[in-house]
Symmetry: C2
C-alpha cells in the first residue's frame, strides 16, 4: 500500500494556525494587500462569499426584511451620543479629517491643510447610530412598525493583530436593524434572526452550531441580550459565527426613535440588530478543510463540478473538447440542492494533473477528468473531494462512470456531500464536548498546560453578575478560556456552580476561542 | 370629461430639477443623510439597484469576468505614483489620518493625536492603482492572461455640489479591471464591456443609449481611449451612463504589470477598466418618470405586481385575504422576462386608495386592487402603470379581468411594458436629435438663451487636438454644451467642420449634460 501524499505541506495536526494560512494561499482565496490590516479577497474566496450572500439574503428577504444602504461616514456627534449611552464603547476607528490631497513640493502628496473637515468623520465600524437617525425620521406611528432593515456593507475596525477572514480592519458583512413597538415583538425578532443564522449555518455552510445566549460580560455594548451561534473548529476552538442583539430602548433613546401608539401616546421603540460577516468564510475553512486543502460545501461552491479535458495540443483535442462541452451542457441542465448545477469546463493552458490539484486545493466538490481513452470508452474519470483517496491503494479514488451515469449521479453526490460534511463536523463536535467536569480542578486538569485538548466543556453555573462575574472570568482567563453561550433547549441545571459552589441555575459552554 | 389630477405636485415641464427631487421623495427611493454629500438609499431605491446588480452581474459572469474584493483604503504612495503618470489627476478625496478617538475632556470626542497614521490612507475614489498592485503580483506569464476582474464596491469622491443618485460623495458601482497581452485583445475587451453596457441599458433598464468614443478632452485621466453609453433624459440633457476605458500600458507601467511571453521576453500588459454606478438609477428616473411619479421597467421592479386587498376591519376580510393570497400564489407561479414573477400582497394597515397612490408614485408596473364586490364577481381591478389614466373619463384606467385572466395576462403586460418604455424613450430621443445644423450660428440659435430646446445636435467636425481642441471647447462652453461621443455605426462625415470650417472627419454629439 503506497503512502498518501497530501496536497499541502502542513498538516492540521502539526500546526493548525499555519495550516489555515496555507489553505487560504493554496486555495487562492485571499492574500495580504499591503494595506495595513486589509486583505484582498481573491475570486475563489469572494465567490464563496457571494454564494453566502445570495443564500442568506434569500432568507432575509423571506422574513420581510428590506435591504437599504446608509453612509460609510458617520459624524463624530453620533459617537459622542453613543459614548454617553454605552459603556465599553470601542474607539479604534478610522477617522477622516481632510478632503483633499496636495503636492508637498518634493514629489509627494499630503493632506491639504486648507481642506480640513470642520467635524471629522468616522468610517463606520457598525451602523446602529446612523440607521437609528434614519429610523427616527421614518417612524411616526404604530403603523410604521415593525421596521425591518438590512444592509450589506464594508465596515472598519482598526485591529492591531489581524488574521485573514477572522479579524481584519476592513471586513464585509450584513447588519440587520429592526424597530418594534414592544419588547415582546423585539425579542421575537431577536430569536427569528438567531434561528435564521442557525439554519443558514447548518443547511448552507454545513456548519453545526450551538445557538444560545451570551453571558452579561460578552454582550454587545449597549445591548440588553446578546445571542450567538457558536461553531467548533477542528482544533477544538470556538468561533462565534453570527450574533443577534436585543437592544431594549437604549439606542432608541439615544437616537430618539419614538412612535405614536394607538391611543396617541409617544413611546420609545425597542430595537434589534443582527450580523454575519466574512468571518464565516474563516469558519468554513477551519471546519471543512483537510490536509489536501479546502473542501467547499456544494451549496456554497462557486463551481460544483469542474471538467478537465486532458488536452495535448493535437488535432484530437477538438473532439475531446466537444465531448466535454456536451458533458458540461448535460450537467448544467441538472439541478442540485434546489438550484441549477454550477459547472466549469476548465480549458486554461496547463497539464490536467496540475490543474486537478489546483481544484483539489480549492475544494471543488466534484472534479471530472476526461482523456482520449475515456472518450473512446464513453466514460469519465470522476473524483469526489470528500473521498479523495483510495485507502487501499493510496491513490486518488477515481470512479469511471459512463458520461450519462456521471450526469445523472452528480446531483446525488452533491446532496450527499452537503449532508456528509455537516454530519462529519457535528459528530466531531459532539465527540469533543465534555459534560462531566464538575469542579475547577477538573477543568484545570482538562485544559492543563501539557494538554492539547480540543474540546468545549459544558459547565453548570450560578450566573453571578457584577463582581461575582468578574471573579469567575478571571478564573477562566487563567485557563485562557472564555464563555461561549448558554445553549437553548438544554436540560435545566441540576448541580452546583463549578465556580462558586452555589446551586447552579443554567448550563453554559466554556472554550478557547477565535 | 373630468381633469386628470396627477400624483405629484410638480410637473416635468414646469421644473424638471424640482420634479426629479419630488419623484425621489414621493417614490421613497432615497433621502439626504445629514452626512455631507452622502445619501441614504431607501428600500425601494435600493431594491432597484439590487435588480440592476443582479442583471448586470449575470452579464459580467457570462463574459468570464471574476468578482473579487480589494481594500477600501489606498496608501498615499499609490496616488503619488499615479500623479506622476497621469495628468488631470483628481485630488478631491477623503483622507484617513487617525485610527482612534479619545475624549476631549468636555464630553466630546476628538481624533487621538497619539494614533496618527504614519502614512495617511485615501478612501478609494476608483481602484486602478490598488488592483494594479494585485495584478502585478498575480500575473507572471502569458498563461495568466487575460486576467478579468470586477469589483462591486462603494467609492468616495469629495463633491461640493451633490444631487441624489447623479452626484454624491459616496456612491455604489462596479468597476471591471482587465489585463491583456496585446493592445488588440485589450481593445476587444474595451468594446465587449461597452456592448455589455449597451445591452444592459437597453434590454434591462429600457434606456436607449448611444455607444461611442469620447473625444480626447473627455477621456478618463491616463486612458488612451474612453468609450461611453449616453442617454437622453426627458429634459433633453445627456447622461453618461457607463464607460469603458482602454488604458494602454500607462497603468501597467505605473504598477509594473508585466508578463513573460511565449518566447521568454518580459512585456507590459495592456489594461482596461469599465464602470457603471448608482447614477444609472438617476437615469432611470429621468427617462421613465412621469407626472405621477416613477415608472420602473418590469425587469428592474423589486415587485412587478402589487395586490391591494380593500380591507375593512370586518369579518369578511378573512375571505378577501384568502382570495388575494390565491391570486398571489397563482401569479408567483408565472414567469415574465425569463424570471419568476415578483409579487407583493400588501396587507399593511391603511386605506387601499392611499396605498394605491403610494405604489403609483413608486412605479410598480401592475397594481391589482380587490374589493368585496370584485371577489363576489370573481374579478379584480387591474391598473397598468404605463396606462394609468382613461383619457376619456380622466379617471384611473382600471381593467376588470377575471382572476384567472389576470394571472394569465400579467406576464404579457409586463413584457409589453418593458419594450414599450424603451420604444417611448427611443422615439422621444430620435425626435430630439438634430442633424441639419452645419454652422455655429445655427447651433447658437438652437441653444439660444430664450430657447428651452431639449435636443442633442449631431455635428460634423475635423477632430483637432491640443490648442485647436481647446478653442472648440470654449466655443461649446459659451453655449453650456459639451461633447458626448462619436457614435459607432454612423455614416462617415461628408461635410465641413462646424467649428473650424475644415473638412470634417467624423460626426459627434453635442448636448447639455448632467
Amino acid at each position: 500500500m503506497s503512502a498518501i501524499r497530501h496536497a499541502l505541506s502542513i498538516k492540521r495536526e502539526d500546526d493548525f494556525a499555519q495550516w489555515y494560512q496555507e489553505v487560504i494561499s493554496a486555495a487562492d482565496m485571499a492574500e495580504e494587500s499591503g494595506v495595513r490590516g486589509c486583505m484582498v479577497i481573491k475570486p475563489w474566496g469572494y465567490g464563496i462569499w457571494e454564494r453566502m450572500q445570495r443564500l442568506l439574503d434569500d432568507r432575509i428577504k423571506q422574513a420581510g426584511v428590506q435591504n437599504a444602504y446608509f453612509p460609510l461616514f458617520i459624524p463624530l456627534a453620533n459617537f459622542e451620543r453613543e459614548a454617553a449611552h454605552v459603556e465599553g464603547f470601542a474607539k479604534e476607528m478610522a477617522v477622516v479629517t481632510h478632503h483633499r490631497l496636495i503636492a508637498d513640493g518634493e514629489g509627494g502628496l499630503v493632506p491639504d491643510p486648507a481642506a480640513k473637515l470642520e467635524e471629522p468623520l468616522v468610517v463606520r465600524p457598525t451602523s446602529e447610530t446612523i440607521i437609528g437617525d434614519a429610523m427616527s425620521r421614518w417612524i411616526q406611528s404604530w403603523r410604521d412598525l415593525p421596521l425591518k432593515l438590512n444592509q450589506w456593507a464594508n465596515v472598519v475596525r482598526w485591529e492591531m493583530r489581524t488574521r485573514m477572514f477572522l479579524r481584519t480592519s476592513e471586513f464585509l458583512w450584513q447588519e440587520g436593524h429592526t424597530a418594534h413597538a414592544t419588547a415582546e415583538e423585539a425579542k421575537v425578532e431577536t430569536m427569528r434572526a438567531l434561528e435564521m443564522y442557525r439554519a443558514f449555518a447548518e443547511e448552507d455552510v454545513a456548519l453545526p452550531v450551538i445557538a444560545g445566549e451570551k453571558p452579561e460580560n460578552e454582550r454587545f455594548p449597549g445591548a440588553r441580550e446578546t445571542w450567538s451561534i457558536e461553531a467548533m473548529m477542528q482544533d477544538g476552538k470556538a468561533l462565534q459565527a453570527g450574533t443577534s442583539h436585543y437592544l431594549g430602548t437604549n439606542f432608541a433613546e439615544a437616537a430618539n426613535i419614538r412612535y405614536q401608539d394607538r391611543e396617541g401616546g409617544q413611546e420609545l421603540c425597542h430595537t434589534v440588530s443582527w450580523g454575519m460577516s466574512t468571518r464565516m468564510v474563516g469558519g468554513l475553512i477551519m471546519t471543512h478543510g483537510d490536509d489536501d486543502g479546502l473542501r467547499v460545501p456544494p451549496a456554497l461552491a462557486p463551481f460544483q463540478v469542474v471538467i478537465l479535458p486532458m488536452l495535448r495540443d493535437k488535432p484530437e483535442d477538438a473532439a475531446l473538447l466537444e465531448y466535454c462541452e456536451a458533458l458540461r451542457a448535460s450537467l448544467a441542465g441538472q439541478s442540485a440542492l434546489g438550484e441549477p448545477l454550477r459547472v466549469l469546463l476548465d480549458t486554461r493552458p496547463g497539464k490536467a494533473a496540475a490543474k486537478r490539484w489546483d481544484w483539489v486545493r480549492k475544494g471543488a466538490p466534484v472534479i471530472i477528468e476526461v482523456g482520449g481513452r475515456d472518450m473512446e470508452n464513453g466514460v469519465v474519470s470522476l473524483l469526489r473531494r470528500d473521498a479523495l483517496w483510495d485507502i487501499n491503494t493510496g491513490k486518488p479514488a477515481f470512479e469511471n462512470p459512463t458520461c450519462e451515469a456521471a450526469a445523472q449521479t452528480v446531483p446525488t453526490i452533491l446532496a450527499g456531500m452537503q449532508s456528509g460534511l455537516f454530519t462529519e463536523a457535528r459528530d466531531r463536535r459532539e465527540a469533543n464536548i465534555i459534560r462531566d467536569i464538575t469542579d475547577m480542578a477538573g477543568l484545570s486538569e482538562y485544559y492543563g498546560e501539557d494538554q492539547h485538548r480540543p474540546g468545549w466543556v459544558e459547565v453548570q453555573w450560578s450566573k453571578p453578575s457584577g463582581e461575582g462575574l468578574e471573579a469567575v472570568i478571571s478564573q477562566l482567563k487563567a485557563l485562557k478560556l472564555t464563555f461561549r453561550n448558554v445553549p437553548m433547549n438544554t436540560p435545566p441545571a441540576d448541580g452546583s456552580c463549578i465556580f462558586t459552589g452555589k446551586p447552579a441555575v443554567e448550563r453554559i459552554y466554556v472554550a478557547r476561542a477565535y
